[in-house]
């Protein structure tokens, strides 16, 4: 066994980390969009991710819909779910203290998870094989086609979301609503509609993430959302919550950091070190890596 670091191992771990990070990034994108617009840590987001995975699962296995159609279908259904959750559980609390909607978000998260346990059954399910897995061995570094698809899809969706947020009219409306809802209304922007659209977009992304996770790891379960949700949320904060490229960056950093801690420090301390990194980043960049600390005007 050769000692010390070797390059192929480092590269391999980087590949592993990027693949994991792209899943975090996809979920973090949704977190960040929702947070950006209503300043709500949407704890239910991880569970929408889980629902998305199941929507895709049932579409493919029960209704025999091909993957290319099942993906947009699951994304659409998740979007509707996300909007419904917003309308029923968050919108009535828009004038209430922010922490009240945080608690309903926790409630919705518990609700979706328990509904999942009851109606999707508690047992984890193997995900249908959609594309044959191809594995390439490049100089001792193993890369699979699914890893590449995940990374590519995460980047593509991030670019798409960035384009929507920074280049389109609805995106401008989103940013306006996120700064000042009342002022946006005075511009003729239907703030409720814009918030609904944001939830829909974020939820659709989560569903895409859910299907990819099912596809890549070949297992989905009703409780899968909790852990991914928490990690992705941390990723969104690391990148600077509310900032679209920040979510991507944060997700990839979380993924790579976790993998490198396992590879070169200790797998036992993985989560402790991941959170320690988070705290250190926040102490030096209190608004996340890409976030700009807003100076309070006195």
């Amino acid at each position: 066994m050769p000692g010390g670091l070797d390059i192929s191992m480092v590269v391999q771990q980087l590949v592993n980390g990027l693949a994991l990070g792209s899943v975090y990034a996809l979920i973090a994108l949704g977190y960040t969009m929702v947070y950006g617009i209503v300043r709500l840590i949407n704890f239910a987001h991880g569970d929408i991710f889980m629902l998305g995975a199941y929507y895709g699962y049932f579409a493919i296995t029960m209704f025999k819909i091909p993957f290319a159609l099942a993906l947009p279908l699951a994304m659409g259904l998740a979007a509707v779910t996300g909007m419904a959750v917003e309308r029923l559980a968050y919108k009535p609390l828009r004038q209430a203290p922010r922490i009240a909607s945080l608690i309903t978000a926790i409630g919705v998260s518990l609700l979706l998870q328990n509904l999942g346990l009851k109606f999707f059954e508690a047992r984890p399910r193997p995900y249908p094989r959609i594309i044959p897995m191809v594995v390439w061995d490049v100089g001792g570094v193993v890369v699979s086609n699914v890893q590449l698809i995940m990374l590519a899809l995460a980047i593509a969706l991030m670019v798409l979301i960035s384009l929507i947020v920074y280049r389109t009219k609805i995106g401008k409306a989103m940013r306006a609503v996120s700064f000042d809802k009342d002022a946006a209304r005075l511009m003729g922007i239907d703030a409720d509609m814009v918030i609904g659209v944001t939830f829909a977009l974020g939820s659709a992304l989560a569903a895409a993430g859910g299907m990819l996770v099912g596809f890549y790891y070949n297992r989905i379960s009703p409780t899968m959302g909790a852990m991914y949700g928490l990690k992705a949320f941390v990723a969104a904060v690391v990148g600077g919550i509310g900032i679209v490229p920040g979510a991507m960056l944060g997700g990839l950093i979380m993924g790579v950091a976790e993998v490198f801690v396992i590879a070169f420090v200790s797998s036992m301390l993985k989560d402790a070190i991941a959170f320690a990194i988070l705290i250190v980043i926040l102490l030096f960049k209190p608004a996340g890596l890409l976030g700009r600390a807003v100076r309070e005007k006195v």
Binding site: Y35, R39, I41, A89, P92, L93, A96, P97, I99, A100, S101, L102, I103, T104, I106, G107, V108, S109, L110, L111, N114, L115, L117, K118, L230, F233, V234, V237, I241, M268, L269, D271, A272, F275, A276, L278, I279, L282, L283, P286, A287, G288, R295, E296, K297, V298
Partner: protein, 602 residues
């Protein structure tokens, strides 16, 4: 107006009456507590209503009450969003269990050491709170909670992931009941004290609190330490009840549970917390009949409760912060002046800035600002919007640190001092956009600012002993006198944020003066006032200037006011001082006319 005043008097009499009966009230409370205990234990012994099962649930209720009340101190009262409370509970549980099980220590010291260890954890976790706020603080504390859990997971002395079984079952209903009652009383006493007001001030407006002399660093850490201590005690009680602990029992969901309790009960309401602890503990048990659907129904009910009571079951109901007497109406205002008055023996320059400049990301907001204020001067600082006037105030009060140059106050360099230290030394200010503690009463706004000499300690506050009563009475009396000077005494028990605009401006000045300053900085006091109000303000500033022997520096756009009031005017434009002269000369100054006044004003 008259009826309002009457109501306040009635209230003040009412509270004074209860004050007088404090001893009796304490006895009644104690009696009630004892009766509650004997009722529960009696019913349990007799086997009526309360079986072992229900007694056990009541024990969880008690433990959750301690968790909730202690988190409420951090989250509800101090406004620091913490998601790591389970971490403190874990420390307390493990340390206490280690002591009794492995070292064979008795229960009481084990609980105490567990709580102390958790308090140390609170000290560490409190540190990020000094830099972070809101959701970011929440994430950092969540991270700490998880780190604590992972560390325990890797500690084989306490069983790692397998946990620690066979912990002696010391926790009885009496223990939990007594500790919960103690927690409630101590936190309540703490909240209704000088220290508690400082905590609430931080929640309401950290910047304003800091400039009113509240050492926010110290008080935030105090909140975390005290909160963590009780969470640690709750952990110790929990461990010795369940007799088996493992790291998964103190995961993120446990912190969430504590959060749910305080939000459901009402942030900032202790009685609400107790009620919610009962609901949150009992509800899943009551739903056992629904088997698989139990958690579905539980989460639905949680959502519905929040939708229908978004401010919690109790809101902040039990708190008015007006439980103390309102002071003696006849005592002369002169005492206050004397108390607040600065010594008059210093050398003439009170404040001196030397070459102060201030950059914001490459933009120079203030450059080479030199100014000398002499004892008793009344100076105006004017200039176009964006000229750097407020920035100068922020540098003087320590809210912004000057990029270069230095500030000297009464011969001391205060350039790098914290706002609260600067306030302690004798500089107070008001804000352009009024920053009152707007959810608190008028009286409390002033009380927060008040500091006597040798203020009573936290222990005295908690025990309601020593200097506590006499000082509280004193603070209250003097605060009322201040309010009277500003014509606000008949509104003492109103919520500050609901006062009319002019009254808010006056209250902000009263609050600033209550800190006993030698130099008062007023940032656009006349903004949004009509001519009549402005005129009254002019008289008021003149009067307090005289009365408290103050030096005053004033930012204002209302030239009428500035010209009539100030002995000297400094004009800033784009960060540069373009004039420093007597009012009569300022209006003739060409540069000032071009940059600020415009032709017609002359």
């Amino acid at each position: 107006m008259v009826s309002e005043a009457k109501a306040t008097v009635a209230k003040s009499i009412g509270t004074r009456a209860t004050d007088g009966k404090q001893l009796t009230r304490g006895a009644v409370a104690l009696g009630g507590l004892a009766a509650g205990y004997f009722l529960v234990v009696g019913l349990h012994r007799a086997g009526v209503l309360i079986s072992d099962y229900y007694l056990q649930i009541l024990i969880w209720v008690g433990i959750n009450t301690i968790m909730g009340v202690s988190l409420n101190l951090i989250n509800g009262f101090t406004g620091q969003f913490s998601l790591g409370h389970a971490g403190f509970m874990a420390i307390g549980a493990y340390v206490a269990a280690y002591m009794t099980k492995i070292l064979g220590a008795p229960f009481a010291p084990a609980l105490l050491v567990g709580g102390t260890a958790a308090a140390l954890g609170g000290l560490v976790v409190g540190i990020p709170a000094l830099r972070l706020a809101g959701d970011y603080l929440a994430i950092a504390t969540l991270g700490f909670g998880e780190i604590i859990r992972v560390i325990i997971l890797n500690l084989d002395v306490v069983g790692g992931p397998r946990g620690l079984p066979g912990i002696p079952a010391h926790t009885t209903f009496l223990w939990v009941y007594a500790m919960a009652a103690a927690t409630v009383v101590i936190v309540r006493n703490l909240i209704w004290s000088r220290q508690g007001r400082a905590l609430v001030a931080i929640r309401e407006d950290e910047t304003a609190a800091e400039t009113m002399g509240v050492d926010t660093t110290r008080y935030k850490i105090m909140a975390f330490v005290v909160g963590a201590f009780f969470a640690g005690v709750a952990g110790g009680l929990y461990a010795h009840k369940i007799t088996f602990i493992d790291p998964s029992q103190f995961d993120f969901m446990k912190s969430i549970e504590a959060l749910v309790i305080i939000v459901l009960g009402g942030l900032g309401s202790i009685t609400g917390t107790v009620l919610a602890a009962f609901v949150v503990t009992f509800l899943p048990e009551a739903l056992r009949a629904f088997a698989d659907y139990r958690m579905i129904i539980y989460s639905l009910m949680l959502i519905l409760m929040m939708l229908y009571r978004p401010r919690g079951l109790m809101g902040t109901a039990e708190f008015g912060f007006r439980q103390l007497g309102l002071g003696d109406a006849r005592s002369s205002a002169r005492d206050v002046g004397g108390q607040a008055m600065g010594r008059n023996d210093g050398p003439p320059p009170v404040l001196e800035t030397r070459g102060v400049c201030m950059d914001f990301g490459g933009l120079r907001a203030v450059s080479d600002f030199c100014m000398t204020l002499r004892q008793g001067e009344l100076v105006g600082l004017i200039g176009p919007n964006g000229a750097g006037k407020t920035t100068v105030f922020n540098v003087l009060t320590g809210l912004s640190e000057a990029t270069c140059g230095s500030v000297h106050f009464m011969g001391n360099d205060i350039t790098r001092k914290r706002p609260s230290e600067i306030n302690d030394m004798g500089i107070a200010r008001t804000f352009q956009n009024i920053r009152l503690f707007s959810n608190l009463t008028v009286l409390d706004n002033v009380r927060i600012a008040f500091r006597g000499e040798r203020p009573y300690s936290m222990t005295e506050a908690v025990l309601r002993a020593g200097r506590y009563s006499s000082q509280e009475e004193e603070i209250c009396r003097k605060s009322m006198e201040f309010l009277r000077l500003f014509g606000l005494d008949d509104r003492a028990s109103e919520i500050a944020g609901k006062l009319p605009y002019g009254a808010q401006r006056r209250l902000e000045m009263a609050r600033a003066l209550a800190t006993g300053p030698k130099l008062l900085l007023l940032d656009e006091p006349a903004a949004g006032m009509n001519p009549q109000e402005t005129h009254e303000l002019l008289e008021l500033i003149r009067w307090i200037h005289e009365r408290f022997d103050l030096t005053v520096l004033l930012i204002e756009h209302d030239m009428n006011l500035v010209m009539k009031l100030c002995q000297r005017i400094i004009v800033l434009d784009y960060g540069n001082t373009i004039a420093d002269d007597a009012p009569a000369d300022i209006v003739k100054n060409r540069r000032v006319i071009d940059a600020y006044l415009g032709e017609e004003a002359v």
